[in-house]
């Protein structure tokens, strides 16, 4: 039986959520916040009755969470995070459901706390690269925190993509780990061993350190593939741990891509929010007409210096229109790489300037949600 306090907190949180939805909002943040304000222990109390599965990492959280939810649904009812709602209150909101399984996307900085609160059955650690450094400060700082909590959580099975040295370090001392490798890949921030601080030796995307940290020793080995394909495989490894049957996913299902019509044009949106996701997007198929949308609000990262860490060469020869609150940042970055673009204020102005029917849109986080959700 839930405590009277928790029952009342849930009742009030659900009422607030309903009121918020009537006002046209998603209602997840408000209800989660109210729940935690009235019962600070709500997450641990609600998690006790469930099998909890957590997903975290810099890129791929939302789509991989969706895939794992589909896999786990074969076993029973699933409650899951609302799109991108990955802070404590998002978790609290999802846990109010009576479903036997909770599949939750968790923000990198919130993960250690949520692991401690929920004693999860499985945690999937995808990757750690530079993102929102005004908030994360350093990649190493995040992986240090993960390392401490992963070591503590002895009941949890960690599924870890150890081609990322920060992930390998995070689970280095954990009790139960499935170490997955896809044959290695370069890491944009992986010059230094996160465990011992030595210069990490890299060869063909594989690393090994004198302290022993390496991706060459793994429990499961798969072929190289795109981020989407890797995440589909990782989702199924999580399913395996829970005895769920594997599912097949199309690559597009695991990408943050959405197509949407604007008049007679179709815009193919892709979420690009940090150097790693931009690099992945620039390697994919890009139409002749491209719109780049850049904002710099809190969740986008308020510093845009990272634009200089990637090459935009794949955009050469395309018709490029730039918009968003920080469109000029990206326009100047392109200019120095010898790529000219047209700068406008809004997406509506940008789409009018495209000439072909099919348009690629590479979009920052906040703009992506405003334009397609």
């Amino acid at each position: 039986m839930a405590s009277p306090r928790l029952t009342i907190a849930i009742f009030l949180a659900k009422s607030a959520s309903m009121a918020s939805r009537i006002m046209g909002n998603k209602g997840e943040t408000i209800s989660g916040r109210i729940l935690l304000a009235l019962e600070p222990e709500a997450i641990s109390l609600l998690a006790r009755k469930k099998q909890v599965i957590l997903i975290s990492g810099t890129n791929g959280k939302t789509s991989t969470t969706r895939a794992i939810a589909a896999i786990v649904r074969q076993l029973g009812a699933v409650t899951t995070s609302g799109s991108g709602s990955n802070l404590s209150w998002g978790a609290a909101h999802a846990l109010m459901s009576k479903a036997a399984y909770a599949v939750l996307e968790i923000d990198e900085l919130h993960l250690p706390t949520v692991i401690a609160q929920t004693d999860p059955a499985v945690v999937l650690l995808l990757n750690l690269t530079r993102d929102q450094l005004h908030r994360m400060h350093e990649v190493k700082r995040v992986s240090d925190r993960w390392h401490v909590e992963c070591t503590e959580a002895s009941n949890t099975v960690f599924v870890a993509d150890i081609d990322d040295p920060f992930i390998n370090y995070a689970v280095a001392n954990a009790t139960n780990v499935v170490r997955v490798s896809f044959g290695g890949r370069p890491h944009p921030d992986g010059a230094v061993c996160p465990r011992c601080g030595s210069y990490l030796k890299w060869k063909s995307g594989n690393y090994s350190c004198t302290c022993g940290l390496t991706n060459k020793i793994s429990d499961r080995k798969f072929k190289k593939g795109s981020a989407a394909m890797r995440n589909a495989i990782l989702a199924n490894v999580v399913g395996e741990v829970l005895d769920a049957k594997p599912m097949k996913f199309k690559e597009s299902e695991l990408e943050r891509t959405i197509s949407k019509a604007f008049g007679d044009k179709t815009a193919h949106f892709r979420l690009t929010k940090n150097p790693a996701s931009w690099t992945e997007a620039l390697q994919a198929d890009i139409k002749k007409d491209v719109i780049l949308v850049l904002n710099a609000r809190q969740v986008d990262g308020i510093d845009t210096s990272w634009l200089w860490d990637l090459s935009f060469a794949p955009l050469k020869g395309k018709r490029i229109i730039v918009c968003g609150e920080r469109g000029l940042d990206i326009a100047y970055r392109l200019h120095v790489e010898g790529i000219e673009s047209t700068v406008v204020d809004t997406f509506d102005q940008a789409i009018v300037l495209t000439k072909n029917k099919e348009v690629s849109v590479l979009s920052a986080y906040t703009a992506f949600f405003e334009l397609v959700m």
Binding site: R130, L133, H134, H137, E138, V139, K140, R141, D189, A191, V192, C193, G197, S198, Y199, I302, D303, T304, S305, W306, L307, W308, D309, L328, D329, A331, Y332, R333, H335, V336, E337
Partner: protein, 229 residues
């Protein structure tokens, strides 16, 4: 040929300072000056004959590795003694100072700037604007560090802080001595402030270089000055 040496970018590239080299080469090119960017990794020997050397921001372990490599042979010190231009940002600024303090110990730096850095009690993160005697307009950038840097008597501050924190003490940012420039401004600083890129080119060439208009660069710099609070 102007030789621009980007030092240890795999270690000192956490905060986008890589772009400083690209902007220098680009603005040299606008004037018909040939320039080349050479990336020197941790395992490479540092060329002696560079005209402009660049150091960027880094995480702690990477900063220590870079300093250790730069102490071997002291090539950067020798180049700076001969008058080469050096721009050192954030962790790079701390490296070229007399000393800085890590989590465990005090480390002797390269001693190119008479400054010492201690850990502050909070992280200094956000937009920053400074006023420097070299320029008619404020410089803008982004800072993200927890070091507090105190200037010795042999250096001048690079600028006075208009908004933000800079060195975290005495209302100033960075330090200069001869052709050695240290600052906390990312952005990258030379992308956000073309005037500063031009100053470094002039210092490296030892002559006045012609003024050029690059509309988008000027527009961008001006716009970023207006959005600083």
């Amino acid at each position: 040929m102007l030789e621009i040496i980007r030092i240890h970018n795999e270690l000192l590239g956490t905060y986008g300072d890589r772009g400083n080299a690209d902007v220098l080469k680009f603005r040299a090119g606008l004037r018909g000056i040939k320039a080349k960017v050479t990336d020197i990794s941790y395992i490479d020997a540092l060329p002696k004959e560079g005209d402009i050397y660049l150091l960027g921001g880094a995480e702690d372990a990477a900063q220590m590795l870079s300093l250790t490599a730069l102490k071997k042979g002291m090539t950067l010190n020798k180049a700076a003694d001969k008058g080469a231009v050096l721009l050192a940002i954030c962790a790079g600024f701390q490296i070229v100072g007399s000393s800085y303090v890590t989590r465990d110990e005090q480390v002797a730096g390269l001693g190119l700037l008479d400054v010492s850095t201690n850990p502050g009690d909070k992280r200094l993160v956000g937009d920053i604007a400074i006023e420097s005697e070299f320029f008619d307009v404020p410089l803008t950038g982004f800072e993200n560090h927890s070091g507090v840097t105190t200037l010795g008597t042999d250096v001048m501050p690079f600028g006075t802080v208009l908004s933000g924190n800079g060195n975290g003490i005495n209302g100033v940012d960075g330090a200069i001595s001869g052709n050695v420039f240290g600052t906390y401004l990312h952005g990258p600083i030379l992308a956000r402030n073309p005037e500063f890129a031009d100053l470094l080119l002039e210092r490296a060439m030892g002559i006045q270089i012609p003024h050029v208009t690059d509309e988008i660069a000027d527009h961008y710099a001006k716009w970023r000055r207006t959005v600083i609070k």
